[in-house]
């Protein structure tokens, strides 16, 4: 276990900066997920920590040591790659024991630790197989096993689940979380999937265009997104948006002419005349007669486009303020497309973003 510290870390390819001087502190045994759209610099950051990419500026520390100039082998990190990167000419047992063999551990020690890792990940029956004879999930497990036998200071995961089908992904996600609870090693995990980030992380680091946009616990980020980008990126279904202007007496006038009444503390916070983007999560909208939310509500009306039944609830899509909105309907009933519904907006949970800076108000 070790801390990982990034200080003003820069990655430059020729004249182009892809990571712009980011700062981040990761604690002992913490599970941190770097998340963002493709090209945001999250994988590059991970690879700089691993030593697979040169660091163009700033410092990466593992524990107390600056590791900028150390080769990967001297950093005591393990990495699970997106495409597993198992050695195809070695059996599962050889794959697991490879790093220990390179470290010239005794045969008994190697056997013991390989057996230990195999037991944790349930690989017992597969030890003599070659990677080509394994299924995707099994290969993924071997890749994790290879990472844990070394007892590294830090685990690095580079989109490890993106090659698996949906069902297996959910299953492996749980296994990774269990594994972390068992071994309690510091984990840095890269993904573009916000659900993985939400479910796995102690803290989420949201990146965009080579910058860190927000760092926080999943709940913190979900409830208090720093800006419009984070608000849209985190949460499923994505946040509903509409443009408007804050008027006098805490009234929010939307572009479509509807007027919503802001909760008192928000009305006090946002100056009159501010052009804003309103953000409402699907959970903060309730169809009339299907649950009640909060004490401070505004009511809107809209025509339904379509519904997606999910069993215990349905997602209801409707046109509002020039874009498509969505809400969850509990105890669902049949709604015909085109039917006008009345919805209650929980004004205590809405988000307002400055229209120009996109920052949360």
């Amino acid at each position: 276990m070790a801390t990982v510290t990034l200080e003003k870390v820069v990655k430059r390819y020729g004249p182009i900066d892809v990571v712009h001087g980011i700062d981040l502190e990761i604690g002992h045994g913490e599970f941190v997920v770097l998340v963002g759209p493709s090209g945001c610099g999250k994988s590059t950051t991970l690879r700089m920590i691993a030593g697979l990419e040169e660091i163009s500026g700033g410092a990466v520390k593992i524990g107390e040591n600056i590791v900028n100039d150390l080769p990967p082998r001297d950093r005591n990190v393990s990495m699970v790659f997106q495409n597993y990167a198992l050695y195809p000419h070695m059996t599962v047992a050889e794959n697991l024991g490879f790093s220990l063999k390179i470290a010239k551990r005794s045969k008994d020690d190697i056997e013991k630790r390989v057996a230990e890792a195999a037991a944790i990940l349930g690989l017992g029956d597969l030890m003599e197989r070659l990677p080509g004879q394994l299924s995707g999930g099994q290969r993924q497990r071997v890749a994790m096993g290879r990472a844990i036998v070394r007892h590294p200071d830090v685990f690095l995961f580079d989109e490890p689940l993106s090659n698996l089908d949906a069902k297996l992904r959910t299953q492996m996600r749980t296994e990774i979380k269990k594994l972390h609870q068992k071994v309690k090693t510091t984990v840095i995990y890269v993904t573009h999937d916000q659900i993985e980030a939400m479910t796995l992380a102690d803290r989420i680091v949201i990146m965009r265009g080579g910058h860190i946009v927000q760092v926080g616990t999943p709940m913190d980020i979900f409830h208090n997104p720093a800006n419009l980008f984070v608000a849209q990126f985190i949460g499923s279904p994505p946040m509903n948006l509409a443009e408007g202007i804050v008027g006098s007496n805490g009234k929010l006038t939307l572009a479509n002419g509807d007027v919503l009444t802001l909760a008192p503390d928000m009305a006090a916070r946002v100056p009159e005349g501010t052009a804003v983007t309103l953000g409402v999560r699907a959970e903060d909208l309730a169809i009339d007669g299907h649950g009640r939310i909060g004490s401070h509500i505004s009511t809107i009306k809209a025509a339904v486009n379509l519904t997606e039944p999910l069993g215990n609830e349905s997602l209801v899509f409707f046109e509002y303020g020039g874009s498509e909105w969505v809400t969850r309907m509990f105890n669902p009933r049949d709604i015909a497309p085109g039917e006008t519904i009345t919805l209650h907006v929980n004004m205590e949970s809405i988000h307002l973003f400055d229209k120009t800076t996109e920052k949360r108000l």
Binding site: F81, L86, Y87, I102, R146
Partner: protein, 287 residues
């Protein structure tokens, strides 16, 4: 007339067999004829009309070329064999070593002028070797390396290298780069990552590049006939010329020497062919 599905299938099967037989005949009959002729007396080889079924098979030609009497058709087979072996083996090893370094560099690194250099390698293959023989002869004469093993090794390394690099580059490209990175994270030096992970996976490709290089050097005639003079460096293909004299050609002896030349090449191909089966890289990464 309607032809049933079953009849059609049998018909196609026969067509395939006949096609294969004809193709294999075109490839094998000349070789078979050489082997047969090496065991037949000259009278029978030269008989008109041709004697298709051998009447008299013996080892006379072999005995003659290994005898000590040049009048009987003896040639310094051992010297030629030795030269061929030394030249072909050494040039192949050198070509493989340089080819591995070059192929790896082309597969893994980007550097200035990479594409141009690669194109240059390929273009060098378009020049017929024989066209270079005169300039080479002059340069070699000045350097004093005509009729030496060293000279022949040098020319064969140059001849084989572009193709060797091209082949090995292709095989290293098939080995995913993440394997090297995984090995480095697992504690390997770059050198260990190469030898323990990438090399074993590209081994089959390197073996096939080796066979190509060996066979090219082993069978090459045009340049060797210009640049070798004596038993000091004459190779087996050039040795075949010993059987031609002003008025006659000793076909039997020539065929016997040709057989001696073919056997090691066949053996080598046979031994290495199990390494030629590619596909070992399957399964390491998501396909």
């Amino acid at each position: 007339m309607m032809v049933s599905h079953g009849t059609r299938k049998i018909y196609l099967k026969w067509c395939r067999w006949i096609g294969t037989f004809l193709a294999m005949s075109a490839i094998c009959i000349p070789g078979l004829w050489i082997v047969l002729s090496s065991f037949r007396p000259n009278v029978e080889i030269l008989a008109k009309p041709a004697v298709w079924i051998p009447q008299d098979l013996n080892f006379d030609h072999y005995a003659a070329i290994f005898s000590s009497d040049p009048g009987q058709g003896a040639v310094p087979v051992w010297s030629y064999f030795q030269n061929s072996l030394i030249i072909a083996t050494t040039s192949t090893l050198i070509a493989l070593l340089i080819g591995m370094a070059g192929g790896y560099a082309f597969a893994r690194y980007s550097f200035k002028g990479k594409d141009t250099m690669f194109l240059g390698f390929m273009l060098s293959r378009t020049v017929p070797g024989i066209a270079l023989s005169l300039p080479l002869f002059m340069v070699y004469a000045r350097l004093g390396i005509i009729d030496t093993d060293f000279g022949m090794i040098l020319i064969y390394v140059a001849l084989n290298l572009p193709f060797t690099i091209w082949l090995i580059d292709g095989f290293f490209r098939q080995v995913p780069q993440e394997l090297n990175q995984a090995a480095q994270i697992d504690g390997c030096t770059p050198w260990q990552a190469f030898w323990l992970v990438e090399f074993p996976l590209a081994k089959s490709g390197i073996a096939s590049a080796g066979i190509f290089a060996f066979l090219t050097s082993w069978n090459e005639f045009a340049l060797a006939s210009q640049l070798t003079r004596s038993t000091a460096s004459k190779t087996l293909p050039v040795g075949l010329l010993d059987f031609t004299s002003e008025f006659t050609i000793n076909w039997g002896g020539m065929c016997a020497l040709a057989v001696i030349m073919i056997v090691p090449a066949l053996l080598l191909t046979f031994i290495v062919q199990k390494h030629l089966v590619a596909g070992l890289t399957f399964g390491g990464v998501k396909g």
